[in-house]
């Protein structure tokens, strides 16, 4: 589903964000991407989104080769991907329903589809009763649920999460993780960058660890760090 072959990426020629990384994530996997800040987790996600291009190496996502992909093909790639971020990225002027519907509107989905699928996905994330609330009326956990709903409403094959629990307290985080687990069980590949040790340790999923841009560990059913 995601394959990197000897990928190197540096910024401004001096800071190396990823160093000769090769890895493969197969369909339906749940993968934690761990490592300290600046280890290259966010760069990995940007590369998969084709928000950035690698300096060297090949990247394949959802069966598509990203190198030299024409810019007009990028939107089609992104429709296969859902994205959740630490800061939710919700539109403050739109209600919960409108925020989720927006993701479908802008890719030209017909109104009937929107009216049918948005309530479904809001029900899935447990916000069926708050469809008309505005983001500022919601708690952090609820806002992140809206964000997950928006990422998932178009049924992407891959869900990319960049520190989704970074702004949330532990109890709320558990709820979000359960939600991501539920989404993973529908067959969606989930890649989650995090440095939340408790979450990684409790989930016992595949762990990929980056350090200074290099892949130092790839372990199925792993924990956050050695000996912890």
């Amino acid at each position: 589903m995601i394959r990197l072959e000897n990928v190197t990426k540096s910024y401004k020629k001096s800071v190396v964000a990823l160093r000769d990384v090769s890895l493969e994530v197969t369909k339906g996997e749940f993968v934690f991407l761990v490592g300290p800040s600046g280890s290259g987790k966010s760069t990995f996600i940007k590369l998969v989104l084709k928000d950035e291009d690698p300096d060297a190496g090949e990247i394949y996502v959802a069966g598509k080769r990203l190198n030299r992909m024409k810019s007009w093909r990028v939107p089609a790639l992104r429709r296969e991907l859902g994205c959740v971020f630490q800061d939710f990225k919700l539109l403050e002027t739109k209600t919960v329903f409108e925020n989720v519907a927006f993701a479908l509107e802008v890719i030209g989905k017909p109104r009937q589809t929107i009216q049918r699928t948005v309530p479904e996905v809001l029900e899935l994330v447990g916000l069926g009763h708050k469809t008309d609330a505005y983001p500022h009326e919601l708690s952090g956990g609820e806002q992140q649920r809206v964000s997950v709903a928006r990422a998932f409403v178009n049924r992407p094959r891959i869900l990319l999460c960049d520190e989704p629990t970074g702004n949330l307290d532990p109890t709320t985080s558990v709820g979000i993780m359960k939600l991501l687990g539920r989404i993973n069980r529908t067959g969606t590949t989930v890649v989650m960058a995090t440095h939340d040790q408790h979450i990684v340790d409790s989930m016992r999923r595949r762990v990929i660890e980056l350090q200074d841009g290099a892949l130092v560990r790839d372990q199925s059913r792993g924990v956050y760090g050695y000996g912890t």
Binding site: W72, R78, L81, K89, V106, I107, G108
Partner: protein, 292 residues
């Protein structure tokens, strides 16, 4: 209305309202520039309308020396009549010239009193088949015995049309500068709008909206301002036609003038240029400020 269209109209109206002052400034600048451009085009039309008419009526005057002999004059006239370039020949004697002169300057008694038939030259008034062939006719008859000078009214007309051309060029040059200012204003408005919408645009890119879908509201916003300016310019030109030209028309009867039909004929050009400049400026600034 489907979600797509509702989204578009909402975004365009919102964008225009958010920068109301900038939008107005843009529309005014576009209006001024396109009004000037339109004025230039209308002057061109006026020139085209009158130029052919005037030149078609141009006569060549062959002024005769006082000491020309009767036989020289007769053979010159004979020659002119046999020339295939010549359509019509009229002999104007000193007395005829005097009568004409008195008539033309009848409002200036000092001038008419100072002139006698003796000092005015006799001439042949020659109408050419093709007025453009003046130079050939001139070279043919300038060296003729007894001929003083061959001239036509073209020089006067040329002067008049040069003034018109200069006016047109000036109007077009200022219009060009103004269009540049309009493009800069539109570009700036786009930048402000792009900044105000950066979160929304970011999400749109993330969920896979196509580049054109993201660009369209911005570009339409520019086009709306551009077309509004063009229509205002058209209104100004119609107003100018109704007041200025109509007045001239009533005073100067022997010249045909352009009318409101000509304004309507240049209007599509103005609208196209307004929309074109606006969309080009939007497109370029979108690449810079939105990277789409």
């Amino acid at each position: 209305m489907g979600p797509r269209w509702r989204y578009l109209t909402n975004e365009v109206v919102l964008g225009l309202r958010r920068n109301l002052l900038m939008t107005l400034a843009t529309i005014v600048t576009v209006t001024v520039s396109l009004a000037l451009l339109g004025a230039g085009l209308l002057v061109q039309r006026q020139v085209n309308l009158t130029r052919d008419l005037f030149y078609a009526q141009v006569e060549v005057s062959i002024f005769l020396q006082d000491e020309i002999s009767e036989s020289q004059r007769a053979s010159l006239e004979q020659d002119l009549r046999e020339n295939p370039q010549v359509q019509d020949v009229l002999y104007e004697s000193k007395e005829d010239a005097y009568t004409h002169f008195q008539e033309i300057f009848k409002n200036d008694p000092n001038l008419t009193a100072s002139v006698t038939p003796e000092i005015l030259p006799a001439s042949f008034r020659v109408k050419l088949v093709d007025p453009q062939q003046f130079a050939i006719v001139q070279s043919q008859y300038a060296g003729y015995p007894g001929v003083d000078e061959v001239s036509d009214q073209r020089e006067v007309l040329d002067k008049f049309f040069r003034v018109m051309d200069a006016f047109r060029n000036g109007a077009l040059a200022v219009a060009l500068l103004q269009l540049f200012a309009a493009a800069a204003l539109i570009s700036n408005t786009i930048r402000i709008t792009a900044f105000a919408r950066r979160e929304q645009t970011g999400i749109m890119k993330l969920v896979g909206a196509t580049n054109w879908y993201i660009r369209l509201p911005f570009i339409l916003e520019g086009i709306v301002a551009g077309v509004a300016g063009a229509l205002c310019a058209g209104g100004l030109l119609l107003l100018a036609e109704a007041t200025l030209i109509s007045k001239l028309q009533r005073q100067i009867l022997f010249i045909p003038f352009i009318g409101s039909g000509d304004v309507f004929a240049v209007l599509p050009v103005l609208v196209l240029i307004g929309a074109g400049i606006a969309s080009a400026a939007s497109f370029v600034s979108l690449r810079r400020f939105l990277a789409v």
